[in-house]
Symmetry: D2
């Protein structure tokens, strides 16, 4: 999977409680999570009395300056990076969202997608609520504000009992941070300690950067209430079967992170090995589609007993607003990002390892690019199963119709992309790669088994 | 009155319905109203299906480009310019505010200040509402959304019956504009026609710029519902004694506007004449504090029979973020804006005409500046009465304690500012100047007679 | 004269030697001279060892920040503001120009226009010089660098003996500032003292702002060499008849400045009086075209015995990149800047006083605007003589063909602009107004008597 | 070699002659060369009559927009990307430099470093030349302008005969492009064809992106004169022994480029293999320092027979202006860029492959980082010989004193960086890896054998 335009709608969250360098550390934390969202970035801090906020469109390093960080006073703070489709690319949707209500000021960083957000929003609007963003996260804040529970913790519980879907969230009030992971645990969130202060982050690589110690994952359904005096952990929701997003491990997370109890790197290498076992090939070299396919390709190369080569070189300067010549260059979009190393490829039977195929258009261009560089044969290997359904929990996959594997069989896909052979990792192989025990992942995009149904809203009166 | 930093919290509004060049004309309209607010600018348009919005900090010409205006589709639109104190200088407070609720998308441009906004906000928050801005205008949108009236017009009426204070507002839904002026008519709003399309604006000079015809003022308590099929006028509120803001005529409005049935220019010249009649002087020349004191000074010069001279030259390039030398220059702030013409002033007995005195610090510096330029005598004349109370309806005057005239008598003020003599316009003289009939103005800042009391909130259950 | 687009190519220069706040004071100095150029701004300072420079497009307040000023180290500095036609609007042409040559680093601020710059440039290019700007100022630096005189002062003299035309310039080396005014003294430059430090500026209003004392004008042909130990004045050039630019007094300078020994304000008022004496009229009121026509209109009003009124209100927010509606508004360009006060004008016979007519198009629109506001008659009065020739010394007038007065007689111009009557100030009247003695001004644009001929270049070998 | 701050002063050049999409293709060309310089970017085009130019600080994609490219008219153009030390980071130094001289307008893109630029500049300054940049490239333009040869080609030859050192340059006049590579051929430049138009570029990957065909390298000492009618190749300089910069192959060039007749990828892999052969080790895995060490590490892994793993993950979002927490994080600079994959490293004996060691500080931090991740042993392997001398031909190495290998022996460096063992590639091994024949490279930074001496200037009168 190469061109992610319009594909992912993911986010990264980070928080720290009671540290003298709160804003600087949140800044570094979300910088480490930049791969989870490049569209907007934001930080909100509290000095115990008031919240201070700054958000902007673009990369973390461009949105913040030392001056801005100095203005974000206080010792507690949360941050957010966001990626989304062009349609909703507005500053107003940048997070953390900050509102004022009878409980005082609240700020929210949310990663994930609520499946009953539209229903809840309709209900809230019918009761007279007004919305200023188009994010599902604003719904959560309305529900918290509307709760009659006096205690904020209880209000958050009451609110979250009404929402369904994926959320890993950090809520900042003037005197505490509440971290919650939904009962299915779709999205990751981990707990760490830095100089005695509690840190929460989407991935462990954010802990690494600030020299924080990784303590453990925040559990599915767990709610952590953290303030200056300490940390309380409760499990207020009905327990559910864990549904960790396997796509985080396949593609989204950084390979240097630990996630769902495993090293992302090792999981990916296992996927590559299993992929090779399941799809033998007679070839000369294995090359990855960089960067996401590298680790799986190393595993496959090892298992195949074929040399691993960096046969495609990635241009890291490619931005979003690139200018295309009027008289179009063939496969221009892919060429901008990747250039084949002809002397490596020429005359060889090449195994190309990528992490996934979405629409198939990029894979098709890629095969052509490699053939143009002189490959004798091109064998495409995918380190995950065919994607046949859209994600409903935070990965912005296209509609089912646009997913090539939902309408074409293996041979048809192979023919479409023009490869000599095509092989996917099987669902069973993937399960083995991610976890010996198994059964704790959401694989809905591969098997249509959606853990939380989009129509399963509890009536709002039930709480 | 010279340095307005932190003094005014005023706005300008403009709207047009069913014109093929809606966004361009709204742009020109708010540009003409730029004197009413330089902090932020915004435009929202509707194409009958959806609203399109752009807002930004700064001047109209800097916030908008032709590209941005082209993206503001549709034939109906409203705009807003805003000035406010530094404390609330955030993009989130820029108007028009746009929200989504069960009635669809709504946008609001509001000029004026609600006196019971805090109470209403507290009530709304207690019922679970969340607020994303710190403006009183957001309260109005909440009330409209919360109204159970099916009809938007009725909902607006129900909402506005709960608010007290000053409002001249334009509400845009996808298919109409509703213009309302509060029953006291504190803030101005006029009606015009351009190429057959209805235009609404804070001042007539905005009509002049786009070649629109001035029809009439929108009346106090009047609500105009304007859509493609025509315009309906209703008066849904209990009638009140009109309370036109006399400060608009003294200082805030453009002299080329018609306001409250009078030419602002002529009113100001009358004030200057009356000021001279009430405060005779033995002097050589009359000079204005430009630009706001020019017209009154012309009237005074005429009545005194003394030559009018531009003895102070204004620098029109002064912005907000000026750099002051470390080793401070005496009266630097005033010098940056005004420079005396020594050959005109030297050896002369000078009458200086300004529109008002707020804290007195600027007047004091001004007198010193004119004396340094060689004036034999400095006679200060103010074309309005002493300001003894803060405004509660949209002019952001300082607290009573900071108003020099609330704590010092005439002789003490004269001594403080260092003038040879000091004369104000009397309240009676001002009334005569603004209106033969009289009795229709708010003069609370001069006589503490506040037409709408800040504690007079109707209980919310009454509607 | 109302719309200056493409008309003036003027500049302002400012310098200070040995003051602890050099960069801040140069900043304020060029800010006070902002009316002389709004396109670019620059400052270069010296700490005795090295030069520090910053230049940018736009207004002084936008180009500089406190950070940038802090980086401009040292106690001596020069600054520049520049206006020019769009064609040469490039950062590379912003001044001060800084170069490095065998004499070390040099920076130059230049106001005026050299008439033999093209010839000199051609000669220099033929000898192998390369040019990086399109300004004539770069020529001066080449000549200084090429001079074999060991002493910088002598090199400057040798260089300037080769150039012809108008220059008021400030040259900064690491240890001194050299100020020179051309032998004709076309452009103004004055000398002041601030806290014991020598200050040089295009106009006295820059001295006023920083509380510097005005000492005297720098004389035509005078060269001042100023460093830490003091100031030396020499007159190295052949004496010439002074040719002060009368247009500075008519239009360009600030009315609060002293220039060529006179108060600009008083000169303009005299012009207005003389204009009225020479052009009697039967009318009701006198109105100026603000701001440049105000002072002359006051003089005319006094002489005519007619009331002075501000019948046109100027919008001070008009910038350069204004958006015009597709369906053009009549006289849009003028309307954006000026709006008539109908109640003042309606039914009246109006005398309009402007400082000059260039192409006549703006005057024509203005007359129409005033008629549309209901004027019974419009009598146009110009406080300077008809412009019949372009300026060659720094005012970027259009070509002779475009100057309406060079192709049409008085009656034809009157008819073109549509006024009931038209009157100019006579050359004799103007001479009387600017100076009792007379004979020391350049009036070439009015009488084609060019003091320095464009073909009078001395051969370069002569020096 | 990991942190390049202040290390390289390299550039990339690109040109195309007679193509309808000149500016778009130059844009793509320099984008492909972005790895050769990220500080500034520029393009100059010619339409046969005039040159059009745009330059700016920053990345190609940020400096140019479609609007700007549309303004760069004409069918011929050259471009430039530049990296340099902070000291000379000014827009004025951005290239292509454009000047005007008696030959008309000329623009120059220059890659490389002249060793006698200071001498030439001193000579030119003594003859009266002024300099506006601090680049050596400006010297070349002065020499061309000063040449009395009527023909531009001859003038370029005469000018270049005076300069010594490294240059791969593109000179654009209104009707042609002249490409020259210095007689030693230090810096690369290649020739290609796109739709029949001649293309010149620093590396072949720029040809790949625009689908241009790679024809051949431009030879050392070759001068190509290209215009609409065709291309002429001449060799006007005394032949010299080629001195291809081996550092291009070790580190600077893209691995997908062909350079000096070899595939950069294959050369690097050979270096890795040879490195392993020369430096046996008893270890568990081989990891590269990404991205520059990847290909050599693949070769080493193969030769060692040890698994290759991506044990360090690179953050591609690291910019230049990063904010460091006050309370510094250990090895922060390296951590920002690289994070170890603990499960891969923990308990293992790790061979780390990097391309070079400059000061040693980064290597030291890196070893510590890998040990902190649990490595049992860290064996550092460098795919080039010890750097003992600064580069004088375009790579901005620090002074000899700062180069760790010039003051410490192998064991001392090993101890300083804290590795269990340290091994470099030998010079002989490197020669074998880059070229079977040998003897055509500059290896001065490794053996102090500088092909062109900095003191070898021919007297200027000799030509």
């Amino acid at each position: 999977m190469l061109i992610h335009q319009g594909f992912h709608e993911e986010c990264g969250v980070f928080g720290i409680v009671q540290h003298t360098e709160a804003s600087n550390l949140v800044y570094l934390g979300i910088h480490a999570l930049q791969h989870r969202g490049q569209e907007s970035a934001g930080i909100v801090t509290s000095d115990g009395e008031e919240l201070y906020s700054h958000r902007g469109m673009g990369l973390v390093a461009d949105v913040f300056s030392q001056d801005i960080l100095s203005g974000l006073k206080g010792t507690t703070g949360i941050g957010h990076v966001r990626y989304s489709t062009a349609g909703s690319s507005h500053l107003k949707n940048a997070q953390p969202v900050v509102v004022s209500c009878w409980r005082g000021q609240l700020a929210l960083s949310h990663n994930g997608n609520l499946v009953n957000a539209h229903n809840l929003r309709d209900e809230l609007e019918l009761k007279g609520s007004i919305f200023q963003t188009t994010t599902d996260s604003e719904v959560i804040l309305h529900l918290i504000a509307k709760s009659r529970e006096h205690d904020l913790d209880q209000a958050v519980i009451q609110a979250l009992k009404k929402v369904e879907g994926a959320y890993a969230l950090l809520l900042l009030s003037k005197d505490k941070v509440i971290a919650v992971r939904d009962p299915n645990g779709f999205r990751p969130m981990v707990l760490g300690v830095k100089d005695g202060s509690v840190v929460m982050a989407s991935e462990t690589n954010a802990l690494d950067l600030i020299n924080a110690e990784f303590i453990r994952e925040i559990d599915p359904g767990e709610m952590l209430i953290v303030n200056g005096s300490g940390m309380e952990s409760i499990f207020p929701f009905t327990e559910r079967r864990p549904s960790f997003c396997v796509f985080e491990q396949i593609y989204f997370a950084r390979p240097d992170s630990m996630m769902f109890g495993k090293s992302v790197y090792e999981v990916r290498r296992n996927m590559g090995r299993q992929l090779a076992r399941e799809n033998p090939v007679d070839a000369d070299i294995v090359i990855p589609v960089p960067d996401s396919g590298i680790v799986a390709a190393l595993g496959a190369s090892d298992e195949y007993g074929l040399p691993f080569e960096m046969g495609l070189i990635r241009n890291h300067y490619v931005g979003r607003t690139f200018i295309e010549p009027r008289q179009s260059i063939r496969d221009f979009g892919v060429k901008l990002k990747l250039n084949p190393v002809r002397p490596i490829i020429e005359g060889r039977r090449v195994v190309v390892v990528d992490d996934s195929i979405v629409r198939g258009t990029t894979s098709r261009k890629l095969v052509r690019l490699i053939r143009d560089a002189g490959a004798a044969e091109v064998h495409f290997r995918i380190s995950s199963p065919p994607i046949i359904g859209p994600c409903r929990y935070g990965i912005d996959t296209p509609t089912r119709e646009e997913l090539i594997a939902s309408t074409k069989n293996l041979e048809e896909i192979r023919e479409y992309i023009g490869a000599n052979s095509l092989g996917y990792l099987s669902i069973e192989g993937m399960m083995e790669a991610v976890c010996a025990s198994g059964g704790h992942h959401c694989m809905a995009c591969f098997n249509l088994d959606y853990p939380v149904n989009i129509f399963s809203d509890q009536p709002l009166s039930h709480n």
